[in-house]
Symmetry: C2
Subunit: 382 residues, 2 copies
């Protein structure tokens, strides 16, 4: 394993201490109902700054030379979307110099600065993204994400006791799992890793083990058809009905949502018999009310018939690169769910994933049913 004693250079990216972000957020809400996003970032970024200082002190106290770096000091340059900023580039000169001087460099995750030196935060999972971005900038041998689980499983082990840990998984599968709700890694950090081909390993913070390695080449050996079952109950669904079906209508509906920096996940558009279209899409539950307000405004402009919403939904997905060379996955999935009396509300497919939206109370049953249907408890599932 990577180690300082062996002479490896180490950069450690840390989050705020447990509970700290919530504590700071409550303080903000004590003084303001709607704290300005810029100031919230100034406040929240202190969480990681405290951790880098304390970790550097603790390392030095144990005889390990260490030096802390804030997002501003590393020049983690981001755009200016406070609370959800995206990393644009990293100036690795300072970190390289600190490493060359024999330091472990302890970097504040989750934060950066925009071009006017305003402090930004990256939003959920931001520290993972920082770690991957640092690894990419430094061309690191490996980026290890220490989490509260010991790797990626065929399904959530709390829900499916037979679930197996995967030794390796392709980046495509990992991406689909992450975007389908498997909470091991945030989608953005996996995307970033994929873009720069950062060798990524997921391990437990609490137990020894080799975790799960995310790979960039598919094994020459036969792939299992399905790697895992993911679920997500963080989304809500919105539907706009009776929109005149003409070019650009999807953009006119989803443009304002995107302009409000709300991420859309599944999108379905179908044309009804009277020539008008219905568009249904899902967003994070946190953005649900805001999206509903925007969609209602859009509906007036488009002269739509009605807008409806539902936040009692869950998304269940089967993921596997082996799907590419196997037919009949979708029908097997739909049949298994139907046999349990689970109604499918939306379907979305990609080359290596099939997702369905169901009523949220059926989520666990759907995950267990599919794990069993695809034989994932066995080493070589088929």
């Amino acid at each position: 394993m990577v180690s300082r004693e062996r002479g490896d250079d180490l950069v450690v990216v840390v989050s705020a201490m447990s509970g700290e972000t919530n504590r700071l957020t409550s303080m903000a809400h004590e003084v303001s109902d709607r704290p300005p996003a810029r100031e919230l970032d100034v406040l929240l970024s202190t969480g990681e700054q405290v951790t880098i200082a304390l970790l550097s002190m603790a390392l030095n106290a144990r005889g390990c030379k260490a030096r802390s770096c804030t997002g501003s000091q590393v020049h983690i340059r981001t755009d200016s979307v406070h609370g959800k900023a995206r990393i644009l580039d990293i100036d690795d000169a300072r970190v390289r110099a600190d490493l060359a001087n024999g330091n472990v460099v302890v970097v504040a995750g989750f934060q950066g600065v925009d071009e006017d030196q305003n402090i930004t935060t990256l939003g959920r999972g931001g520290s993972d993204t920082t770690a991957v971005a640092m690894a990419a900038a430094l061309k690191a041998d490996e980026c290890r994400i220490y989490t509260d689980v010991d790797g990626v499983y065929t399904a959530d082990p709390r829900m499916v006791p037979e679930a197996r840990r995967l030794d390796r998984i392709t980046i495509e599968e990992m991406l689909e799992l992450a975007s389908s709700g498997t909470k091991v890694l945030q989608t953005r950090s996996v995307e970033f890793a994929g873009k720069y081909k950062v060798p990524l390993r997921v391990l437990s913070s609490f137990e020894e083990g080799t975790g799960t390695l995310i790979t960039y080449k598919e094994s020459t050996m036969e792939q299992p058809m399905i790697s895992g079952i993911a679920y997500n109950s963080d989304e809500a669904k919105l539907t706009i009905r009776g929109v005149l079906d003409q070019p650009g209508v999807a953009y006119r509906i989803l443009g304002p949502i995107s302009d409000a920096h709300i991420n859309v996940d599944l999108i379905i558009q179908n044309v009804s018999e009277d020539g008008t279209a219905n568009v249904t899409f899902t967003v994070h539950k946190n953005d649900y009310q805001r999206a509903l307000t925007i969609l209602n405004e859009t509906a007036i402009g488009l002269n739509a018939r009605e807008v409806t919403g539902d936040d009692n939904i869950a998304k269940v997905s089967v993921v596997g690169v082996g799907m590419r060379s196997h037919a009949g996955i979708a029908s097997k999935m739909f049949k298994s769910l139907a046999d349990e009396g689970i109604n499918i509300q939306m379907i979305s497919t990609s080359e290596i994933k099939i997702s369905v939206v169901v009523e949220d109370k059926y989520m666990e049953l759907a995950v267990r049913t599919l794990h069993k249907a695809f034989g994932l408890e066995k080493e070589h599932a088929a």
Copy 2:
């Protein structure tokens, strides 16, 4: 009074919230017995960063446009002496731009960055110093220091009930009072104000009032002989005896103390009958043990007879620009103390101040005795 509604531009400099610096310091000592000064500054500077964010949020919530600025964002450039850094310069461009956009600018006190962008802190009273430095850089009409007292008094009112608040005081007197232990303002901030002639006013955070204005011209009216009595029990005294009296000996004794960034206050050197010298000096109690260790090393090199120390001392000072034109102040002071049986251990004088070191148990008695002896309870003392 200065006010936003009247159209005045406002820059507000804030400290950490009450108890925050202690909380952070304890966290540091939980992970390390001797936390590196650089990392301690990274940690402590989060205290003010939290305050600027919260105050900016609170102001915006009340309809007052406000924007926060960290020490790094204002480019408060300091030297690299972590924990005790000195401000070298301030780039006021960003603050001026924010003011021009109609913002109240909320600046983090106590912190800066060195030329390598390392975070530094200014040490005790650092937020006052930041405020004065900002006022100087911006050529502000007035710099107001809001404290827990409503102005500068002829003596500490908790000790001397007859003490009077002064409407104005000269910068020289304020400097002597501050350096003699009157805790209204830290010496460094007063020095800074004096250097750049920043109009400075001390007011209460809790009560309305005009406070005490620090002036740069002596009034043409007759000055009171004495403006106030100050005291300080934060110092300890060290003596090195039997050093060969030759050129450079004071430097060889005090150089190593200064190299360790320990401030020396009073210094007395006298030559004894055998041609050897005794040197006595005082340092802050926090630095006492460190200074004692250094002095013992020096004593070996200088072949000195002995080193002694005493931290049960107090310094009591009378301060007043009127002293310049009045004789007999010192003898009146010494006689008043002698009448009360108070032994004087060290004496130090400047043009407008006389300080004596006494055993600390006599401190309060000495302050009350001198306040009465110089008639400070009356408006025109003589």
